[in-house]
């Protein structure tokens, strides 16, 4: 029963946050909506017994990624109104139709493909502690883990390259 109440509350918060990302005029409010959604998803991970993933979700997404987003919003400027003029006619209505159709397609496909049919949710012996996850990552998936190390190094190098090596002066590119 407690699970149900927690799920309903935080699913509602996640959905409201997600809608506010795409509806808010101010980019900062979009970032706040994303923050609410990420926190709610972290709580849902706890409901799903994925405690380590929940902790990582809060630290990386709600901490690092959101800080980076807010920092870039601060750099790019928060008070620039978005130009809605140059859109395709009826883009909003078409987008809503596409999104609802996409949701219906996922739901139908999932209903067709999900055939395990176990009525008891989850197995009691699964517990996503740091130890259990680390056993798996550093055992079976150690090569994948090492390639993510390379990926992060390359991402850091790419960011440095983007920040420092801009050989085109701004005056030549600007319209």
């Amino acid at each position: 029963m407690a699970e149900t109440v927690v799920f309903i509350i935080f699913a509602a918060v996640a959905l409201v946050g997600a809608v506010s990302i795409i509806m808010a005029k101010n980019t900062v409010y979009s970032a706040m909506g994303l923050l609410a959604t990420m926190f709610s998803i972290a709580v849902l991970y706890v409901v799903l017994d994925a405690h380590f993933v929940a902790a990582v979700q809060v630290i990386i997404y709600a901490g690092a990624v959101m800080t980076l987003f807010l920092f870039v919003i601060m750099l790019v400027g928060v008070d620039k109104p978005e130009a809605y003029g140059a859109q395709i006619p009826a883009q909003r209505i078409m987008t809503i139709v596409v999104a609802i159709g996409f949701f219906a397609a996922i739901a139908l496909a999932g209903q067709a493909a999900w055939v395990t049919g176990s009525d008891a949710f989850g197995t009691p012996n699964l517990n996503g502690t740091a130890e259990a996850v680390a056993d798996e990552i550093f055992g079976t998936w150690v090569v994948v883990f090492l390639s993510t190390v390379m990926l992060l190094t390359i991402a850091a190098l790419g960011t440095i390259a983007l920040a420092y090596f801009q050989d085109v002066p701004a005056e030549e590119v600007a319209e």
Binding site: M1, T4, A14, A18, I21, I22, T27, S30, L34, I41, Y45, L48, A50, F52, V53, V56, Q57, I60, Y61, L68, F69, V72, I73, L75, V76, E82, A83, A86, Q87, Q91, M94, T95, V98, A99, I100, F103, I106, G110, W114, T116, S118, D119, F121, G122, T123, N125, L126, G128, V133, I137, T148, L151, L152, I154, A155, T159, L162, Q166, A170, V173
Partner: protein, 101 residues
């Protein structure tokens, strides 16, 4: 009334659809980027829910790897947005039309 995996999967599908709508409807590069992050998060929720349902820890490992890829993607993407903004003073994707044929 107990929570089943269907609820989690439907929530993840709804979040993914909202993310798709965000990429289609908004022209601000930052908001489009946030919508992409939302889609990645919904996929992670799917991974963890199925991991719980099947009793396999691999779903949570996959969610962690998706988070690493998303972190790398955020770094590069925001660097590109800042670099574009420095030369053009705009984060509007419709203004980046130089390669239009």
């Amino acid at each position: 009334m107990t929570v089943t995996i269907t609820w989690f999967l439907l929530l993840a599908a709804a979040l993914f659809s909202i993310g798709v709508a965000g990429v289609l409807i908004r022209r601000n590069a930052l908001v489009m980027f946030m919508s992409i992050e939302l889609m990645l998060n919904s996929i992670n929720l799917t991974f963890v829910a199925v991991s719980k349902e099947l009793g396999l820890i691999e779903g949570q490992v996959a969610a962690l790897f998706v988070m690493v890829v998303a972190a790398a993607e955020v770094t590069i993407g925001l660097a590109i947005i800042v670099a574009v903004f420095r030369t053009r003073s705009s984060a509007d994707v419709d203004r980046l039309a130089e390669m239009k044929g």
